[in-house]
Structure formats: structure tokens, C-alpha cells
Symmetry: D2
Subunit: 275 residues, 4 copies
């Protein structure tokens, strides 16, 4: 594929691809959208506690896993449909939107009933039947980059959704697989910039999966915004050490507040506020 490199510096301040998430919230414009919540929805109380804290810190979208894709079949797989109901109920209490993953086409309608944004996970980025089905559903789709997908393959996966009629697509860079075991993945900040240059899709960063380490989430979050991301999706847990999944990369509530403040400063330096 011929790659056209324009002879100028890209500046992140391009806001041509704006996707409405609700009547009052869009993504891709000047304002940054923060999404946060637990890796897995465990209980109503845990979810409510996180939602309250992140809402107070400026978050507009509650994330949380109800159905969890897990490498091993012998570990916690999420609490399923009950998790969807908890997310919806807690989000409504705080005026938040819900983003959560549909693992396959058979879950799509059920997830779409309770969620405002349908997440397609990294492992499913090239599960084409799911892309096609997501292309026919009337909800925005958050398409995570496959952890071993090129930028072109990622954009082509978005085309699979688009080709079925849904143009409300948000891309999410969540780190690619590398050779250094010191981090879970490698946050590819230039991929964020490349998506912005395309001027076709908003893109957010996921510093939690990109690093896999609580102590690296903040610098990775700032870097994603500095590269031009339109928002972030972050894992937060009231007591990360007790999390059912991915606790080592979850921030506690105070740490998330610090992240929101720091990210706000970087956004401001680029002329961007929080949505």
C-alpha cells in the first residue's frame, strides 16, 4: 500500500472526525473524554464506589467488564449479564454513559440494550462477523487495536464496520505486543498520531493495558494525550490488590484523581479541555 506522508508536521489539533456519544457528549472535538471503571464488574457496591469517584474527577463514561475474555478457561470469566445491569444502574445514578465489551455476535443485542458504546476487544479486532454485526447496530463502537495489528489492519477493521453502515467508530490504542517483559505491552503513541492524521476517526488511549503496571499508567496517559488522543480509558478499583482481574494495572481512587489532574494539564497545554 502506498503511504502518503504529507510534508508537514502533524498537529494534534485536528478535530474533523467527531462522533456523538449521546445528546450532550461528542468525542473527537477539542474536549477530551475520560472513560474509567473497574476491569471487571464484581459487585454493585464496588462499581458504585468507582463510579462516584471517577465521576467526581471528570469522567463521562463508565467502563467495566461483564463478559471477560480470559486466556485460560479455568479462571474468572466475568459475572455476565448481571454485570451489564449493574453498570447501567450505576451509570444512570451519576449521569454516565456505559462502555462494555461484547465478546461475540450472540451477546451483541443484550450488550447493546444496556451499554451506550459497544467495545470490540483487542483479540476480536479481526473477528469479522462481529465487526459486520457491529456495523448494523445503532450504537457507537469502541474498536480496540489488536495487540499485534498494524495501523493499516486496524483502520481496515474499522472499514469492515463502516462498510455495513455504522460510522460512529472510536479507535483505541491499547498497546502492542513487544519483546520486553518489563511491561505488558508497548503503547504506540505514533499510532495515535497516525489515526489523527487520517482525520476519519477519533482515537483514545488505554494506558492500563498498554503498560500493565500501575506505576506506569500516569506517564503513559500523559503521553497518549500529548500524542493527540481524544481521550483515555483507564482501569480503576477501590482496592486494586483485591481485584478479580488485572489488579496490578488498576489505579486506586486517589491515583485516578491525580491522573485526571495531570492529564487535564497536558490537555490544557494543547488547548484542550475535559468534556
Amino acid at each position: 500500500m502506498e503511504r502518503v506522508v504529507e510534508p508537514k508536521i502533524m498537529n494534534a489539533n485536528t478535530f474533523d472526525a467527531i462522533v456523538p456519544l449521546s445528546d450532550s457528549l461528542t468525542i473527537g472535538g477539542p474536549d477530551l473524554v475520560l472513560m474509567a471503571g473497574p476491569c471487571s464488574v464484581e459487585t454493585y457496591e464496588q462499581t458504585r464506589q468507582v463510579a462516584e469517584a471517577v465521576h467526581a474527577a471528570g469522567v463521562r463514561v463508565l467502563r467495566g467488564g461483564a463478559f471477560k475474555p480470559r486466556t485460560s478457561p479455568y479462571v474468572f470469566q466475568g459475572i455476565g449479564e448481571e454485570g451489564l445491569d449493574i453498570l447501567r444502574s450505576v451509570a444512570d445514578e451519576f449521569g454516565l454513559l456505559v462502555v462494555t465489551e461484547a465478546l461475540g455476535i450472540e451477546q451483541l443485542d443484550r450488550v447493546a440494550q444496556q451499554a451506550d458504546i459497544i467495545q470490540i476487544g483487542s483479540r476480536n479486532m479481526q473477528h469479522f462477523p462481529l465487526l459486520w454485526a457491529a456495523g448494523e447496530i445503532g450504537k457507537p463502537v469502541l474498536l480496540k487495536r489488536g495487540f499485534m495489528a498494524t495501523v493499516d489492519e486496524w483502520l481496515m477493521a474499522a472499514e469492515h464496520i463502516l462498510s455495513r453502515g455504522n460510522d460512529r467508530i472510536i479507535l483505541c490504542e491499547r498497546g502492542i505486543r513487544g519483546f520486553d517483559p518489563s511491561t505488558r505491552n508497548v503503547l504506540d503513541v505514533a499510532a495515535i498520531a497516525q489515526v489523527k492524521q487520517q482525520r476519519r476517526f477519533p482515537v483514545i488511549g488505554d494506558p492500563s493495558h498498554a503498560t500493565g503496571r500501575r506505576d506506569l499508567v500516569l506517564p503513559a496517559a500523559r503521553a497518549a494525550i500529548a500524542a493527540g488522543a481524544d481521550g483515555l480509558i483507564v482501569e480503576v478499583h477501590p482496592r486494586p490488590d483485591e481485584a478479580f482481574s488485572d489488579g496490578e494495572q488498576a489505579l486506586d481512587l486517589a491515583q485516578f484523581r491525580e491522573l485526571a489532574t495531570e492529564v487535564g494539564k497536558v490537555g490544557q497545554a494543547l488547548g484542550r479541555g475535559l468534556a
Copy 2:
């Protein structure tokens, strides 16, 4: 190797590892140090033109290749010793320091005569005789990360220098090799944060080699600073399309001024000025 993850967010504002570069300039403290210049020193006039422009934009260290490590033996290999003299002469005119690469131990004394900072290139990160010799020379060393080295291997390479008595070491993240041909390398922002967490070495970012694309240098530069880098090293050319080497990743003079401005804003958001 046991990896200790401290249970808190890392904040880039740690300035414990400060390396003096000259009587009036240090790196690793709150102030960011910009290094810039041509990939290859081609002529006195080209070098002077770049130096004048980058000096005006806040740069304190002039970079430039005299001896160039090139994949093929049949292409331009740098102008050699004459390049060292040009660098020194131009730098003196503008009160800049000089950083340039020594390809091997046989060049080290000659390079050290004219340069203020000795660069060890990515391909030489584990050429141990060069590390040992650099450990015995009385100049700061800029140690680039091998493009396929883990963070631990990189830190260990610094130990090889340290073990011979030189503690003035600056690390440089310049991108790691990945699977996506859309960029030359992948800027590993979390590696920058990891080095800062160690509190033992200053670290800078090289957005030019990390991306290999002029249009991605600015967002990568901002991301490196946002991740906690103590400075940048950037390739600049008066007419990039005519550069003898790496022209596709060199900024022109106006583009570099924009980069310096943007990087300054991100630095300010983190409480850091330009040195």
C-alpha cells in the same frame, strides 16, 4: 530478575539524577535540554544554518553525525574528522555543546577532543569494549537504547560504563523495532518512565529515529516529554529533501521552531522549563 513495582503512580517530577554537561548546563533536573542538528554533517554552511536556527529556538546542544553507521557499505558513511571540526567550530560560534557518535574505541579519543558529549549508538549498545572505553573517558556519554534491547539490558549497558568509573551517563530512548512497517520504530514511552523511576540516570527521547517520519516527529516529541523525558534529540536540516541521509525524518527549520514551542508548552504543564 525480580521486578519491584512500587504501589504508587510514578510522577515524572523526580530530579534525583542530575548530570553536568558543562559549567552552566545540567540535565536531569527540572529544566528540559533540547539537542538538535543535522543527521549528517555535510558542509560548514549547512551545519551553521541549522545551528543558528535551533539555537534561536532554545537548543543548547548541537548534534550531528561525522562518522555514520550505515547498513550498507556502499552508501555515504559520513565526512569523518572534518565533520568533527565543523561541529566544534559552529557550536563555539553559538555557545552550544556538541554531541556526536563514536563508532568504535579507535575513534574515541579523536571524538572526545571535539565533542562535549560522546554518543554511543543503538547498534553499539552492547559493544562492550566501547562501553568500557567510554567508562574511562572524562566526558558525559549519551547511551542510546538498542532498538531491540529490553530496559534491563539497557540499564545493564549503562552499568558497563559505570563500572569503569564514568557516572555522567544520559540515556536516550530512540524507538524499538516492531512489526508495523508504517513507522521506522516504536517510541517506547513507558521505557522513559521506567528510567525516571530508577532515579539513577537522566533520559531523553529521540522522536526522529523513533518514528522515521517527519510528520510524526512532533507528536512523538510531545509524548516523550509527557512521559517524563529530560530532553530531546531531534534531526533538523535546512532542506530535508536534499539531506545525504535520513532526510525523510528531518524537520526543516520552521518545523523545528514549532516543535520547540509545542514541547515548551507540554513541559510547562509539567512544571518544567527549557534549560
Copy 3:
């Protein structure tokens, strides 16, 4: 995960995991099983021509894509159900079994009607709903390694199938993604050996996808067998340059005959015949 390395050389001549493919054919024992056919089923005539030639060369299983997973939505996606019928009809004529891919759970029953072995493709290795559904179907499953999956993740994907009750699983190493654009993927021969060491699943090699280059298929095929593979799956086309997909990695009929001969010799050196 603790990794137990037995203090002895592995020898490929371990035949503990034997999976019946039909009344008269098993895989995982001493005899090698060759699978071959076109990347995409295009027409009855093309498929019959390939089947006739590969059958004469010792192939027992006809491969062919009816539903094709393609990176772009704007290129040939396979001829669909008609392709399944062609595969079945041609295979019956020559006494061959059929292996073909099911892209998603919605196709599984239809594919299982016509195919003897259900293929799960590399991009779907962690599409868990498909693994679970394949675990409940009464047919052998060919599980390709994700091009980004570790050996442990691959074995865990097989566990997802096993956990639902289907123990007729054949693994297929088809190359992992690397940094060198000179080949499509990197054939991981040690992964083949690792699977054999586990003594739980038969494993075959796919030299076509592993290399992506016709001129490298033969040495890669020999290497897979030498590493201990229980068979191969190879793309063949009567006129590769006219293939609808992946023509650059397809062998023509004469080339496949040479491959079968050469592979037979390597197998013989290891005490293994052709099934």
C-alpha cells in the same frame, strides 16, 4: 506460569496424542498426514484439478477456503456455501477428507455438515465463543496458532475447546509475526517441538502462511517435519498467478509433488511414513 524443562533432549518420536480423523485415518501417530488444496475454492474445476494432483501425491485431507477472513472488506471474501459443497463433492470423488474454516459460530453447523475437520483460523484463536462452540461439536478441530500468541496462550485456547468436551484437537503452527518484511511470518519450529513435548495434541505445520513465499515453502515444510510435526497443510493452485487470494504463496502442482517427495524423505529419516 512455572515452566518445567525436562533434563533430556526431546525426540519427536512421541506418539502419545493420537486423534482419529476418520475410520481409517488418525493423526499424531508415526504416520504423517498431508493436507493440501487451494487457498480459496474458486470453481469446481479448479478444486478438482488440485484435488486430483495432491491425492496422487499422497494427500489425505483436502483444504480450501469457502469463507475467507480478509483484512480489507473491499476484496474477495470467498464464494461461501457453494464452496463448501464443491469441497465435499470433490473430496468424495477422491476419498479425501475436508478441512475448512468456520469464521464464526453462526457458520459452525453449516460448515460441520460438509467438513470433516473444522478449522479455527489464526485471527480467531482467542475468539472464545467460537472455541466454546467448537468444543460442543462432534468433529475434529484444527486450531491454528494466533500469529501473535505465545505457546502457552495457544495451549490455553485448546483448553477452552477441551473444557466443553471435544478432545479431538489438532494444533497448527502457521508462523508468528516478526520484524523482518522479507517473509510474511516466522515459522516457529521450536513451538512445534514444544507441543510434541506436551504429549497432549498432534501438531502440524503450515509452511505456506509461515513464509508467504512460494520459494520458501519447501525448506519450511522440511523444517516443520524435522522439528516433529505430525503433518502439513499446504496451499496449492493449478495456476498460482491467477489465484483469487494468496497466489504468491501457492505451489503449482509440480512443485507440490516435489514437496511431497522431499517431505517423505525427511519423514523416513525420522522413522515416519506418510499416512
Copy 4:
């Protein structure tokens, strides 16, 4: 770089690039050359014990590290010049040649005095001053592939040697860095085939470094030969668990004998004997 793919299957039986190693031994022709010995030369007795066993198994070249490149400066770095003398003395006793690594140009003359073949290690594949110096020495050079180098970069590194006048170059595929921690590296068998296709250099495989695991050395060795390698270099230790370095990948004497037998069978299947 334009890549010319010839429209035919490569067959390993191309013996156009033959390099004389001594008056009575060449590499690159039909006969396979085995090289073996300890990772590090530790004592005269250890080296002699290995040499006696591998000589009896058909080995013609004794390998052994005198100067060891080590990631950390705080571990065993080899016994140095004494190691060279031990290698020479033991090799002479059994009529073997010696291959050992020169870490830098400053060691080259000293190594060349005692060794018959100068090894350039993986980390030094692009240390150009060493390549140039090796190009001016009157001995064959064993050029290991950088674990992060593309095939083109590797061939270009050989050009750096050639360009200074030395055409006795043997390439060595020793595994490339991948994302799966289950093995130390990934043996790239297609790279071996690509080198053979070039018909310019002989190429051998290093199954010890490629896998890093004793239990995978045998299948990797067979795979390298099956892909067309002209020989192997293998680490052997009388008591691997007591080795000063890399013990986990060293074969013991009985295991090496089994490897030589198995490799001989695969070679025979391809019409190749042991030199």
C-alpha cells in the same frame, strides 16, 4: 529494496558458495560441518573432555568462548587469553579447527593467532569497525545474525566484510528475538533458506542460542539442517548444570551424540553426509 522472488521452489541442494576452512575442510558443499564445544572455556580438562566426545561424534570444529559478551558487567566474563591457548592446544590434540569470538578490534590479532575461524557475535553484527577489520584479516569469519537484524541487514553486514577483501564468510542463524518468553529466541529457518537462495555464502544454524533450552536443541538442529543449513554450532558441556554460563542450553556428551546421529539422518535424507 526490490526483492526478487524466483518462481520456483528452492531446493537446499545448492552448493555454489564454498568456503575453505583449512586444507582439508570446506563448508557450503554437500557435506555438513559440525561445530561444537562449551559456551565458555573454563578449564583445560573441561575443554578436553568435550573435545574428545564431540570429535568422536563427527565434529570438525571446536567452539568455545574465551572472551564472553555478557549483559551484566558483574558476572563471569570469560577467562580471556588463557582460554584461547586452551582451545588451541586441545584442538590440536584432536585435529580440530577452532572457532571463537573476538569482541572487538583490539582482540582481533590475538584471537586470529589461535583461532582458525573468527566469530563475530550477534550483538556485534553491526559494529562496523569490527566488520572492516575482519575484512582485512586472512582468516574465515563466522558472522552471526544480529538477533534484531533483518536478513537484508545481515547480508549487508557481510558486504561490509567483503568490501575490505575477505570473502571467506560463513553466516550463522542463531535465532531472532520474539515475544514469547518460552524460548530464548526464535530460530528463523526461512532465513537459512533465504541465504542459501542467494548462493553467495554458506550458512549454519545455532540451535543452542536459538532455543535457550536443552530439550529443544535437537528438534531445532534437525529443522535447521532440513531448511538447508550447511552445518551447526552447538553448545556442549560435560556437566551442564555446573557450567559457568548458559548451562540451561548446553547438551551433555550423550545428548550431543544423539544429536549428531539424528542430524546425520536428516542430512542423508537430503543427500548430504558429514564432513
